[in-house]
């Protein structure tokens, strides 16, 4: 099966012809398979945000192509517009884009732009609101009266309501407390389960990668440095470190325990896994 999203030799240069000229991404060949949960990591300025803005046609490549379902997304204006709805993009701090009087109307903004009829819009708003755990009473509130985490979820629901077949999120959990983070990750997983969508998540948190993601793509200096399962990527801890990234804290602890002679498997990335493995060393007692 061909990948649902693919870039070929994608290069983007900002401010061409001014003293601020800067190559953000260079010859990137990226692909996302249908239905996979992809993690995109890389330090600040590695080109992640630039890459994802190409995937729904917000940025035009300086050179190279972006293919959605095998078709060039810049083939025609109509095609680009369609892709906007097919590839939902949630920006960093999306709560700053809320503008409507009620949460309901804000979530309805995307579906309304798609030109759907009122019953369909209503169905989608309610569906998206349920996906992020909003109740009926939340929908009539002003989005500005919500808490930080709720605002974020309202904004994410606004993109989910378009029922995109690919959902891209740029650091969806940045700046939230642990519970807020858990809720968002949970919402994204629910969305994926219900819609079979492809999810691409940009994150700085190795713990989130370890918990949620099928495959990891690592960007460094505008290029794709690694791509593989989390086991494959985390096994290259040294290299990650060189790019200003790291493996999950628990993996570091496991590594240390292994070097102290404990017989633990090297591919433990979540606290649950590690707890089980360590307990089984002691005969499996809780």
């Amino acid at each position: 099966m061909p990948p649902i999203l693919q870039t070929e030799n994608l290069t983007h240069i900002y401010s061409v012809g001014t003293p601020f000229e800067r190559t953000a991404i260079r010859a990137v060949d990226f692909c996302a398979q249908k239905g996979e949960f992809l993690g995109l990591i890389g330090h600040t300025g590695s080109g992640k945000s630039t890459l994802i803005q190409h995937l729904n046609g917000l940025l035009r490549p300086t050179s190279g192509t972006v293919l959605f379902d095998g078709r060039d997304i810049h083939e025609s204006k109509q095609e680009t517009r369609n892709v906007r709805f097919q590839v939902g993009l949630v920006f960093q701090y999306p709560e700053y884009q809320l503008f409507e009087e009620t949460v309901y109307r804000d979530i309805a903004f995307g579906p309304r732009n798609m030109g759907l009829d009122e019953t369909e819009i209503d169905a989608r708003v309610r569906e998206a609101a349920a996906l992020v755990g909003f109740k009926e009473k939340h929908l009539d509130r002003s989005p500005f009266a919500l808490s930080g985490g709720q605002k974020r979820r309202a904004a994410i629901a606004g993109v989910m309501a378009m029922r995109p077949s690919v959902l891209i999120l740029d650091e969806p959990t940045a700046g939230l407390d642990p519970r807020g983070r858990d809720e968002i990750i949970h919402n994204i997983r629910t969305f994926r389960k219900e819609t079979d969508a492809t999810v691409i998540m940009v994150t700085h948190s190795m713990e989130e990668i370890a918990r949620a993601v099928d495959r990891v793509v690592v960007m460094n200096d505008g290029e794709i440095a690694m791509s593989g399962t989390r086991n494959e990527v985390f096994a290259r801890g040294e290299e990650l470190h060189g790019m200003g990234l790291d493996v999950p804290e628990i993996t570091r602890i496991v590594m240390r325990l292994r070097s102290l002679g404990l017989d633990l498997p090297p591919d433990l990335f979540t606290i649950d896994q590690a707890a089980k493995a360590i307990l089984s060393l002691k005969g499996g007692r809780d």
């Binding site: 920006f91 700053y96 884009q97 903004f109 993109v159």
Partner: protein
């Protein structure tokens, strides 16, 4: 699209023009404008034109950038040119229907249009080669005599420098919100005037909210660092005239003398 707005933007460089004292540059812009508007005809205008060409060459600012700034003024420029071309009385050259082109008309149109173009280029050179901070430092220093009249010069200039400082930040913010709304299918580019104005609501509301939030945060940050206005405040960077500033001043005097001299000779 928004990235093309370069109003008040600084282009880094290390040329003589960049290094000039901001006060010198501001005064020279004034001198240049006086020279430009005092040179009545095409021939006297060659002098400020020569001066401008020299400054552009020295500052290494790309001419293409300067020309790009003229784009929004195309309508005004063509209007000015058009009116003067056809409405100036004098020796008729060609006459079509109610339009009559005169020799004087051609000259006046060319003079006025080049004058506006040069005025804009000259002032843009100032903002291109001077950081907003230095620029407001210069303005504050030039306006400091007004302190005797109890004008709050420092407060005015700090407001100005903050406004300047926030332009790029707000442009960036606008870009971001625009992209975010476009990702939800917002369309800012098609439709009639009413539809386009309506399309701006999803952009303007978040933008205003964020501007107010920023202002509030900035006020708190300033207060927590005990900012209390200009009284007794010292500066990290002291403005100091160097030899090149005096030399520039001399060039300015020469410029004025040349323009008024030629004008006198031609009359």
């Amino acid at each position: 699209m928004l990235k093309d707005i370069t109003l008040g933007q600084y282009f880094p460089g290390d040329t003589v023009i960049h290094r000039l004292d901001p006060r010198t540059k501001i005064v020279m812009v004034g001198v240049f404008l006086v020279a430009l508007f005092s040179s009545g005809g095409l021939i006297p205008m060659l002098i400020p034109a020569l001066f401008l060409a020299m400054v552009i060459a020295l500052s290494k600012v790309r001419v293409r950038l300067l020309i790009r700034n003229l784009k929004p003024l195309i309508i005004i420029l063509s209007f000015t040119g058009f009116i003067n071309l056809f409405m100036t009385p004098g020796e008729p050259l060609v006459s079509v229907w109610i339009f009559t082109v005169t020799l004087e008309g051609i000259e006046r149109a060319v003079v006025l249009v080049t004058r506006i173009v040069m005025m804009i280029m000259g002032t843009f050179i100032l903002t291109y080669t001077t950081t907003p901070m230095t620029l407001t430092d210069g303005i504050e220093s030039l306006m400091s005599p007004l302190k005797w009249l109890r004008v709050p010069v420092h407060e005015l200039t700090i407001i100005m420098s903050m406004a300047l400082r926030f332009i790029p930040a707000l442009i960036e913010e606008t870009d971001k919100i625009m992209s975010a709304q476009k990702a939800r299918g917002a369309d800012f580019e098609t439709g009639n005037l009413l539809k386009r104005a309506k399309a701006l609501i999803p952009l303007l509301i978040p933008l205003f909210i964020s501007a107010i939030r920023r202002a509030e945060e900035l006020a708190i940050a300033m207060e927590s660092r005990c900012y209390h206005g200009g009284e007794g405040r010292t500066r990290m960077r002291q403005l100091q005239f160097a030899a090149r500033d005096f030399l520039t001043g001399l060039v300015g005097v020469l410029l004025l003398v040349a323009v008024f001299g030629i004008r006198g000779l031609l009359q």
